[in-house]
C-alpha cells in the first residue's frame, strides 16, 4: 500500500496538530513515526484511516485521494488496514476469538474458512489457549497479541500500530516488534508510532521525527 501525504495540515480549532506535512510510504516499507506526546503521530494515523479530514493538503492511498473519497472507497481501504490501537480496543463482551471473527466478517471473509483463519492467527501470536477468554480475563501482553491477531487475520496490505508497546513489558515489546518485522518481510507495509528510543535504535528503519505537528527529520 502506497501512502502519500502532500502538504497536509490539520487544525483542531485553534490548535495546530499537523503543519504542512509531506512524506511518502511505499509498499513494503517499515516506517517509524517518532515524537513526543502531542507531536501529531496519532493524527497521522487517524488521517490515514479517514477518521478525520485534513484542514488542507491531500492524502493519497494507492492513487486514491482519500480527502475527497466516497464512504464506500474509504471502507474498502480500511478493510485492507490492520490496526493495533494504543489501548488495543478489543470489544469487551466478545471473546478473543469472537473479536477476530468480527474483523473477518467485516471483510466478508468466506464463512467456511473463518475458523481455520482464526486458528492460524491465534497460533501465530501464541494465544490458542486463550481464545475463549474475554479481554478482561487476559494480561496486557496477551491483549496486545490479541490485537495483533485481529489485525493480521484480515491479511492487510498495511498495519498501523499506534504505540502498541506502551502498556507492556520489554519481553512482550520485543516479541511484537519481531512479529511485525516478520510480517513486513512478507510484504506488508507497517507504520509504527513510538517514542521508545530502544525500538528506534534497534530497528534502524525509516524514521519520521515529528515535533509540534511538523516533520523535523525524515530518514527515508
Amino acid at each position: 500500500m502506497k501512502i502519500v501525504f502532500d502538504k497536509v495540515t490539520k487544525n483542531y480549532g485553534v490548535i495546530n496538530a499537523l503543519n504542512d506535512v509531506s512524506f511518502t510510504v511505499n509498499k513494503g516499507d517499515f516506517i517509524l513515526l517518532v515524537g513526543p506526546s502531542g507531536a501529531g503521530k496519532s493524527t497521522i494515523l487517524k488521517l490515514i484511516l479517514s477518521q478525520i479530514k485534513p484542514t488542507s493538503g491531500h492524502i493519497t492511498i494507492n492513487d486514491l485521494n482519500i480527502t475527497h473519497a466516497k464512504k464506500k472507497e474509504i471502507e474498502k481501504i480500511r478493510r485492507n488496514i490492520g490496526i493495533i490501537f494504543q489501548d488495543y480496543q478489543l470489544i469487551a463482551d466478545k471473546t478473543i476469538e469472537e473479536n477476530i471473527y468480527l474483523a473477518l466478517d467485516i471483510i466478508n471473509f468466506p464463512k467456511e474458512k473463518i475458523l481455520q483463519k482464526t486458528d492460524e492467527v491465534l497460533e501465530k501470536v501464541g494465544l490458542t489457549s486463550r481464545r475463549f477468554l474475554f479481554p478482561s480475563q487476559v494480561s496486557a501482553g496477551e491483549l496486545q497479541r490479541a490485537a495483533l491477531a485481529r489485525a493480521l487475520s484480515i491479511q492487510p496490505s498495511l498495519i498501523l500500530a499506534d504505540e502498541p508497546t506502551g502498556n507492556v513489558d520489554a519481553e512482550n515489546t520485543w516479541n511484537l516488534i519481531k512479529l511485525l518485522q516478520k510480517i513486513n518481510k512478507e510484504g506488508t507495509t507497517v507504520i509504527l508510532t513510538t517514542h521508545d528510543p530502544d525500538i528506534i535504535e534497534s530497528l534502524g528503519k525509516d524514521v519520521i521525527f515529528l515535533k509540534n505537528g511538523s516533520i523535523v527529520k525524515n530518514s527515508k
Binding site: L49, Q51, K71, K72, E75, K76, I77, R78, R79, N80, I81, I83, Q89, I91, A92, D93, K94, Y101, L102, A103, D105, I106, I107, I154
Partner: protein, 289 residues
C-alpha cells in the same frame, strides 16, 4: 454473524430485552383480546339482526275469533314471513322444557298464568316498526310487545363503545411499546458506541453496524406479538365452552383456527413494523459515524 450479534445484544442486557418484549406482549395481548371481543360482539349483533322478530303478548280472555282476527290482520302486512301462535299451553310446554332441571320452578307455574303470544318473523325488518307501532295502540288486545330493535340498538351501542375503547387502549399501548423499544435500542447503541466505532474503523459499512440493532427491534416485535397473541388466545380457547354457554345459542368465541392464525399473521406484521420503525429511528438518531 449478524444474527449472532443480534442475539448477543439481547443476551447481554436481559432486563432491557425483557422490558421490550413484555411491553410488546402487553400491547398485542390487548389487541388480540380486543379483536376477539369485537368478533364476539359482531356475532351477537348478527344473530339478532338476522332474526327480525316481534313478539306480541296477548291479554288474557281474548276470544278465539279475536285471536284469529289478529292473525289475519298480521298476515296482511307486506314482508311478513311467518306468524307463529304460541298458546298458553304451548308457552307452558316451552317453559317446562327450559326449566326441566329445576322442578321447583315448574311446580309453581300453570298454563293459565302464562300469556299467549304471536311470534312474527319478517323478511324486511322495516315492517317490524309498523307492526309494533300499530299494535302498541291496541291496549285492549295486546299486553306487551317485545321488539328486538331496542336490543339491537343497545348491542350496536355496546359494540361501538367497545371498539372505541379498544382502539384507544391499543393505540396508546402501541405508542408506548414503540417508545420503549426506541428508548431501549437507543440505550443499547449508546452502550455499544465503542464497538460500533471500532467496527467502522475495521471497515464495516454503516448498514453492517446498524443491522443487529434493526434486527433486535424486529425480534422484539416478532416475539412480543407472538407472546401477546398466545397469552390472549390460550385462556380464550380454554374458557370458550363456558363463554359460549353463557351466550347460548350465539357462538361468541369461534372455534375457527384459521381465524386465529389470520389474527396472528396480522399482529406479526404490525409487531415487525413497530419494532423495525422504532429501532430505525434509534439507529438514525444515534449511529452517526
Amino acid at each position: 454473524m449478524v444474527l449472532q450479534s443480534t442475539w448477543h445484544h439481547i443476551r447481554r442486557s436481559p432486563i432491557q430485552s425483557f422490558v421490550a418484549i413484555f411491553i410488546m406482549s402487553v400491547s398485542f395481548f390487548s389487541l388480540t383480546l380486543f379483536i376477539l371481543i369485537s368478533d364476539g360482539m359482531s356475532n351477537v349483533l348478527k344473530y339478532f339482526e338476522t332474526k327480525p322478530e316481534v313478539t306480541l303478548f296477548l291479554k288474557d280472555g281474548l276470544t278465539k275469533e279475536l285471536i284469529e282476527g289478529i292473525q289475519k290482520d298480521l298476515s296482511g302486512y307486506t314482508g311478513v314471513k311467518e306468524i307463529k301462535f304460541i298458546s298458553k299451553q304451548k308457552a307452558f310446554d316451552i317453559y317446562k322444557e327450559q326449566n326441566k332441571n329445576n322442578p321447583m320452578l315448574t311446580e309453581m307455574v300453570t298454563p293459565s298464568i302464562l300469556p299467549a303470544s304471536f311470534e312474527v318473523t319478517v323478511s324486511d325488518p322495516r315492517v317490524l316498526d309498523k307492526i309494533a307501532s300499530d299494535y302498541s295502540a291496541k291496549k285492549d288486545q295486546i299486553d306487551e310487545i317485545v321488539y328486538q330493535k331496542d336490543l339491537v340498538n343497545s348491542i350496536i351501542n355496546w359494540s361501538n363503545n367497545i371498539k372505541k375503547i379498544g382502539i384507544i387502549v391499543v393505540t396508546t399501548i402501541s405508542f408506548f411499546a414503540f417508545f420503549v423499544v426506541l428508548l431501549i435500542i437507543s440505550m443499547k447503541i449508546t452502550s455499544r458506541k465503542d464497538e460500533i466505532r471500532v467496527s467502522r474503523l475495521l471497515g464495516a459499512n454503516s448498514f453492517y453496524v446498524k443491522r443487529p440493532f434493526l434486527l433486535e427491534g424486529v425480534f422484539y416485535g416478532l416475539f412480543g406479538s407472538f407472546m401477546g397473541w398466545l397469552f390472549a388466545l390460550l385462556p380464550t380457547i380454554y374458557f370458550s365452552a363456558n363463554i359460549n354457554k353463557f351466550f347460548n345459542p350465539i357462538i361468541f368465541v369461534r372455534s375457527d383456527y384459521q381465524f386465529f392464525f389470520v389474527i396472528f399473521g396480522l399482529e406479526l406484521l404490525i409487531g415487525i413494523f413497530i419494532g423495525y420503525v422504532a429501532s430505525y429511528f434509534g439507529v438514525k438518531r444515534y449511529i452517526k459515524f
